[in-house]
Every structure is written in C-alpha cells, then in structure tokens.
Symmetry: C2
Subunit: 165 residues, 2 copies
C-alpha cells in the first residue's frame, strides 16, 4: 500500500464503474479492552472509555468503546473493501452518522458499504458518490450507521492526474 | 483523567447548565507529517495520506491528512474544552460533518464548540444537546464543520447513577 498501487489484483474502480445498489462486504475486526483504553486515551479520554471503575458505576454499566473508535474501524474496513482500489479524489464528509448501540470489549465488528447514489459531473470528469455504510456487532445489531459523500475520478481524469505530474 | 474526576477545578456541567449560544474555545494542535503517516497508516491507508510520491502526483499535489484524523483531533480538543467536565451519558453521532479544506503537514488546528440547542427530557432527567463544532486551520479557514448530538445527565440523575452502584 505504500507504493500507491492497489493492494489486490482486483481491477481498479473509476467513477463510471459505480451504480446504486452495489454492495461491498467488510472483513471483521475484534476490539479488545486494551484497544479501547489505548484509542480513547489518545483521542476521547472520557471516563466511560478509559476508566473501568468509573465506567462500572456509570450509565452503561461497564467500559464502552469511543464512537470515534468504531468510526475509524469502519474507515479501515471500507478502505480495505473498496477505497484502496478506487480512484478516490476526496472524502467530503458525512450527511449523517448514528451511534446506535454501545460496543463493549471483546466485540467482533463487521459491516458493509452500499452504493446509494452516483452523480456524474462530466465537466469535471468525476462523480459524487453517496455511500450508505454500516458496522454491525457479533449479535447482528447495527452499531454504526452513516451516509458518506465522496468524489471519485473517472478513468480519463485519473490518468490525467497521473500523467500531468 | 484516569480517576474519572474532572481534569480542572472548573465546576461540573449538567444538563440544566447548558443554553444555546454558549461557546467553548479549543486549545490548538499541530499536525506533523509523521502524525499524518502514522494515523492514516493505521486507520485510513489511502495513497493520498500515506504515500508522499503518489500524493505529490495526485489531485491535491501533496500529502494530506485523513479527514478522520482531523475529526479525532476535534474530539480530543472538545473533550478537553467541554466534555471532560460535563455529565456526558452518550454521544449519539453527527447530523452532518463536512470536510471543507485539506489539512497539510505542519498545520496548526484549533476551533470551538457552540451549544446550538438544548432539549430537556424531564421524564428521563437529562437533555439532548446539539453542538455546532468547528476546526479551523492557521489561515483561519474552517477545515471541519459538524453538528453533533449527545445526551447529558441532569444533576439529580447523575448523582443517582453514582449512588446506585
């Protein structure tokens, strides 16, 4: 991945290759208590994520993962399943992102990305892509639901970038 | 912070202490190239974030930080400025999150959280809090804009949690 080349032998995906309804399933990711403490200690140091005793006494009755932790796991899984072999120009953000259920230590997460909408921009040689993303826990509950916006290059524009520099 | 106690001597904030218009300014955070490579290598391993040569040839003309990296920096800064001394029950997610400008190595980020709306839920003893959050770069441009949803306990409900266990 450090060469900038796709990580698999699957064909590269450009704007014109996407259509609503395409689905990209994720690999799985198990979160240990140590992972939760480490991530939250760095980025979301609230007692419910970093302090076992306080978390036991708190509203959730035990330590829970930062929602941002679930989100970066989503990102890692969607990069592996989709973006690593896609002509990504930019992520634009999220239209909506819901944390629907707490994630406790030992949970194995997986999920999928569903192409919800594709808007070609012929004048720019790219397309706006709307993705409906989900992370589910090992009981099958959706713990994270989001709608993301991104810009994907068409084949000609992507080759243009590569050749222009 | 590992004791679950507030990190400052400022008074604890409960649901009844919030009102629309209150603003919480952030400290600042400087992102090095090494930070960008490390974070993205773990969570968002796309060439534009982890591969200098590919990034130089790409649409942005150089390495840029993962948008998720900017988001976790937002979270760290808002925890320090606000949530670390607030009776947080849960984050619910984001209504909207826009990545408005790329963040390059060496950028110093800061920002603020603005209380946009407070909806008390007397039957639960808490309130829904809507926050309008921003991260700005050292040229004053907004690089991240978001609207977050959370649940904050009232004083009585918070003390109830602490005493019930």
């Amino acid at each position: 991945m450090t060469t900038g080349e796709p990580v698999t032998n699957e064909p590269m995906l450009y704007a014109e290759d996407f259509a609503p309804g395409q689905e990209f399933p994720f690999e799985s990711w198990t979160l240990t208590e140590r992972d939760i403490l480490e991530f939250a200690g760095q980025w979301d140091p609230l007692p419910m994520h970093i302090d076992r005793d306080a978390a036991d006494r708190g509203a959730h009755g035990g330590l829970i993962a930062s929602g941002l932790h679930t989100l970066v796991i989503y990102q890692r899984l969607v990069v592996e399943a989709l973006w690593s072999r896609t002509a990504v120009v930019a992520g634009r953000g999220f239209r909506q992102l819901q944390l629907r259920r707490v994630v406790r230590p030992g949970t194995t997460l997986t999920g999928r990305a569903l192409i919800a909408d594709v808007t070609p921009r012929p004048e720019r040689g790219d397309a706006l892509l709307i993705v409906d993303g989900q992370i589910v826990d090992d009981e099958g509950f959706v713990v994270l639901q989001l709608i993301s916006d991104g810009v994907i290059a068409g084949r000609a524009a992507w080759d243009g970038h590569r050749n222009a520099r």
